[in-house]
């Protein structure tokens, strides 16, 4: 089975093609250029280099959120357009799952941290039992204190990764009571190869949807909706 992977949830833009146990190509860019200018040219590049027949792809896996709202939508509209044109399903891969899956085989717990602004992090807690990927706490938007508490409760050593690491480094030092490490440069940001290979797994679990149905999972309402709900709640009190 051949899976195209796309991740544009953060500053990193990444595209990859995974066929069963082989990563055929991955192109990852961690540069300030907008995903609108990089993502499709990158896909074009790896398609040319690997003489990829797009029709031969079985499904498109995408980092489905959370992340930068705009970044998620560029990825979403790209995979929806590809899915529509190629008549292929889309496999939504929770962004935090995709981050964690990079550390396949880790004996420690895995805790991705994305900078979610507003004093929160998009995070979750994961571990591997043999070759089984265990989602201990599914992805969520919480205060750093809250996730570190879960990390401490789990009691095992933990490895942190994600663009939230530099943001929350001091909080980790202050709050974390279990031994912790940080993933190195080649494994600490979004990777479409990880999204594609986890996507392959999720595809087998029946989690693929049609391109028309697919929508990003922002984990957050828009500011306008949030403020309207707050106002309504206040008024009803």
């Amino acid at each position: 089975m051949k899976i195209l992977g796309v991740d544009s949830s953060g500053l990193v833009a990444s595209v990859a093609v995974v066929e069963d146990d082989n990563l055929l190509a991955e192109y990852t860019l961690n540069y300030k250029k907008t995903h609108s200018q990089t993502l499709l040219p990158m896909l074009d590049e790896i398609s040319k280099m690997t003489e990829l027949d797009l029709e031969s792809i079985d499904a498109i896996a995408v980092a489905a959120g959370p992340g930068s709202f705009t970044g998620l939508r560029i990825g979403a509209a790209t995979v929806k357009g590809l899915g529509l044109a190629l008549d292929k399903p889309v496999i939504p891969v929770p962004t935090v799952d995709g981050l964690a899956y990079q550390l396949w085989g880790a004996v420690a717990n895995i805790c991705p941290l994305m900078d979610a602004r507003r004093k929160q992090t998009y995070t979750g807690l994961y571990r591997f039992e043999g070759d089984t990927f265990v989602v201990e706490h599914p992805q969520c938007a919480v205060a750093i204190e809250e996730i570190i508490e879960k990390v401490n409760e789990a009691g095992s050593p933990v490895v942190f990764l994600g663009d939230g690491v530099p943001v929350f480094r001091e909080d980790i030092a202050r709050l974390c009571t279990v031994p912790y490490t940080f993933a190195p440069a080649h494994k600490n940001k979004q990777s479409a190869a990880s999204v594609a290979s986890l996507g392959l797994l999720y595809m087998k679990e029946g989690k693929a949807v049609s391109a028309a149905e697919f929508r990003p999972d922002y984990l957050r309402l828009s500011q306008a909706e949030r403020e309207r709900l707050e106002k309504e709640q206040k008024e009803s009190q």
Binding site: L39, T70, G81, S222
Partner: protein, 341 residues
């Protein structure tokens, strides 16, 4: 021009309408699908960019599929994909741009980025098979107020533009002030039917040294001051008179500018475009003024005045003929200027 039919799938998502259309040879609209978000944004009294962007993402595939289906076409039959890449709300534009690029890439079709205002102007080609440049055009909508000289297909000169609020924006703000709600254009127009357009003399602003430019923020303030003044004196205001007098002030300014352009450039064709072009009072005033000067007057039907993709397909066709092709790095340009590439 070859005899072959050029079929274009066009996509538009610059504001609060998700739209797709199939257009053949620029003027033959085979389908024109519009999914409007107006009811959603009414809750907030105006378009919320983040909500608009989210809705575009949810609906775009269905809208495209419907447009193809209604046209009885498939992507295999298309010769190019055209998409609005500016101006507009950046988050909203990006959805259409990313989608269009992915489809064009997957189907190995040429990609054409279209200017939203060029689209509005080109809406006139669809129902007026005889209309060809050169002509003059007034583009009036919630985001734009432009006097444009259309010299040729794809060749535009902007004579004037608003220096502050767009005309449609002024309609929205005044509608809110007199409690009519969003969207303001149709609501003011309806209310104005019951009122006296000469009841309140609202000012017609001129922009010094730039005769073709518009200013509507002064007019909007004058309306607000009038309402506040009446309130302070404990007087009741006649909303219908306000609506009618305000609408007349906007229409007068638009028509004055249009006729000034006719006099200066001696053009015998004048077109209007954009959401406000479906305003009956504006259309009739333009028709009368054009008739007086012996100028042929063009306007699109209301469905083609609102944001739609058929107009993008029309503009995209002439861009296609002019050889415009965009790369996979095409980006949304929220403040794209007309005539700039």
């Amino acid at each position: 021009m070859s005899d072959k039919e050029i079929k274009i799938l066009a996509i538009e998502s610059s504001c609060d309408e998700t739209a797709a259309a199939v257009v053949v040879n620029g003027r033959d609209v085979r389908s024109n699908t519009i999914s409007t978000q107006i009811p959603l944004h009414t809750l907030y009294g105006g378009v919320v960019p983040e909500i608009a962007s989210r809705k575009h993402t949810e609906r775009i595939n269905q809208v495209i599929a419907t447009a193809l289906e209604e046209a009885g076409e498939t992507l295999e039959d298309m010769d190019a994909i055209a998409v609005t890449y500016g101006p507009g709300l950046v988050g909203a534009l990006l959805v259409g741009v990313a989608e269009a690029k992915a489809i064009a890439f997957a189907k190995k079709l040429p990609l054409i980025g279209v200017h939203h205002i060029e689209g509005h102007i080109s809406a006139n080609y669809i129902e007026n098979k005889d209309l060809e440049p050169p002509f003059l055009c007034l583009v009036v909508s919630g985001g734009h107020t432009h006097v444009v000289r259309v010299k040729d297909y794809g060749d535009y000169e902007i004579l004037g533009r608003t220096v502050d609020d767009a005309a449609g924006e002024a309609f929205d703000k005044v509608a809110r002030a007199i409690g009519l709600g969003y969207p303001g254009g149709p609501k003011i127009e309806k209310k104005a039917l019951e009122g006296d357009a000469n009841a309140i003399p609202f000012p017609k602003a001129k922009v010094a040294d730039h005769p073709y430019d518009f200013s509507f923020s002064g007019l909007k303030s004058a309306v607000l001051n009038y309402i506040n003044g009446a309130k302070m004196k404990g007087e009741e205001v006649n909303e219908a008179d306000i609506a009618a007098s305000f609408q007349k002030a906007v229409v007068d300014a638009l028509v004055d500018h249009a006729m000034m352009a006719v006099d200066e450039f001696g053009c015998d064709k004048f077109a209007i475009a954009g959401g406000v072009a479906s305003n009956g009072a504006f259309r009739e005033a333009m028709r009368a003024a054009c008739e007086k000067k012996g100028v042929k007057f063009y306007h699109p039907s209301p469905i083609l005045c609102t944001d739609n993709a058929a107009m993008i397909g029309a503009a995209g066709y002439y861009d296609y003929l002019n050889g415009r092709r965009d790369g996979w790095d095409l980006n949304a340009v929220p403040n794209l200027k007309l005539g700039e590439r």
